[in-house]
């Protein structure tokens, strides 16, 4: 009986941790959530080792340790929010572990994102706004919107066919470079640099770099270094895509 109960706790903890990590939550939050759920279930000692690619979780007293592999990560703040509120409810004894497991399963499978056209518009408008933020002229607003939107779309579709993030980002920055170049030469845009900077921003791993540094400062050395490497790879992909365009023209 006791063993069964521990296994139930284990399942809920690991599923919550997995969803959070795959949605881009901070390392300490994943660990914190898992140990809170375990504590709410009456197991005071739990140990977790969370890295961007795997979670190792172990419960004291039950001699139970499990490993979960995380293959893909993206940023999905809605899921982080939902898992967080479920863990809150468990802590307040609002729901049982069984109900929590059911809800977590539902969160894991459902893909409730904004419609693609809205994401496209958001990427386009943010790209345009970055031109102004970086002190460009309003004349370059529209070209940056076009280039940024196309860049976003190409990342999206290429990532669907080729499961290598690095490659999708590389091609997207190529698309952005070419689009910006064509637009400037067609006389629609003026400053090539500003347009490229603005439209590349939705791809730039600024968040990943900052998260990596924060993990390092919080003492999660392993996650920090790994995330840093991932961010470096992404910026390298973007940089080389743009570099090719700049060398050709």
């Amino acid at each position: 009986m006791y063993q069964n109960e521990a296994q139930q706790v284990m399942r809920v903890c690991l599923l919550a941790g997995k969803i959070m990590l795959m949605s881009g939550a901070e390392t300490y939050r994943v660990e914190d959530t898992m140990s809170r759920i375990a504590a709410a279930a009456g197991i005071s000692g739990s140990h977790s080792f969370v890295t961007p690619t795997a979670i190792i979780f172990s419960l004291d007293g039950a001699e139970l340790t499990k490993l979960i592999r995380i293959s893909e990560r993206s940023t999905d703040l809605r899921k982080v929010d939902q898992v967080n509120s479920i863990s809150r409810q468990i802590s307040n004894r609002g729901i049982t572990l069984k109900e929590a497991y059911g809800q977590l399963k539902k969160i894991e499978t459902e893909e409730e994102a904004y419609p693609l056209w809205l994401q496209f518009v958001a990427a386009a408008i943010s790209s345009g706004c970055f031109v102004i933020i970086f002190l460009g002229g309003w004349i370059d607003f529209l070209p940056a919107c076009i280039a940024g939107g196309l860049g976003f779309l190409s990342t999206h579709y290429i990532h669907r066919f080729v499961k290598v993030r690095f490659f999708a980002e590389f091609v997207a920055s190529l698309v952005i470079g070419i689009t910006a170049y064509i637009l400037v030469h067609a006389g629609i845009g003026r400053e090539l640099d500003k347009i490229i900077i603005g439209s590349v921003m939705p791809l730039v791993p600024g968040l990943a770099i900052t998260n990596a540094l924060r993990d390092l400062m919080a003492g999660h050395l392993f996650s920090g270094v790994t995330k840093g490497a991932e961010a470096f790879l992404t910026s390298f992909a973007i940089g080389s895509g743009i570099a090719i365009i700049l060398t050709i023209f």
Partner: protein, 148 residues
């Protein structure tokens, strides 16, 4: 100044959509980004010191995010993500890249160093706001990295 605030609002909110933030919190994401960028821009205009300005701006982004996170009972991550987006030194990184391509390694390395400094300034600013928050709250359990 006004157009800076306006565009930083839309840029941050747009990133909220890209990162699939909950619909009812998009405006708050935008506000966080707008205030952060506004502070940075003031420093940029009067002090010309971008690293310092970035640090202070990131600190305030952290503070505002904490207020919002407490108020709406959500993870703080939702707001900091959008909030720091305008501060990310994308333009400088691009400039560094361009100098590398043009074989101007000296210029490229100094720009890259600045990019690194700015990223560190953002991270330290966020961490500093967390630390400040913990000093204020004086939580009974003293886990170092906790915040809600």
């Amino acid at each position: 100044m006004f157009q800076q605030l306006l565009t930083s609002f839309f840029a941050s909110a747009g990133f909220g959509i890209l990162f699939n933030a909950p619909r009812k919190l998009l405006i708050q994401c935008g506000i966080t980004g707008m205030i952060g960028w506004g502070i940075y821009f003031l420093f940029y205009m009067y002090e010309q010191n971008v690293v310092y300005g970035t640090f202070i701006a990131a600190f305030f982004v952290g503070v505002i995010s904490q207020v919002f996170a407490r108020f709406y009972k959500t993870p703080i991550l939702i707001f900091t993500v959008g909030g720091i987006i305008p501060l990310v030194p994308g333009g400088l990184a691009y400039d560094a890249m361009r100098h590398f391509v043009q074989n101007d390694y000296n210029g490229a390395v100094s720009l890259a160093a600045k990019v690194l400094l700015l990223s560190i300034a953002i991270a330290i600013g966020l961490v500093a706001s967390e630390v400040a928050n913990q000093f204020i709250k004086k939580l009974p359990d003293r886990r170092p990295k906790r915040m809600k």
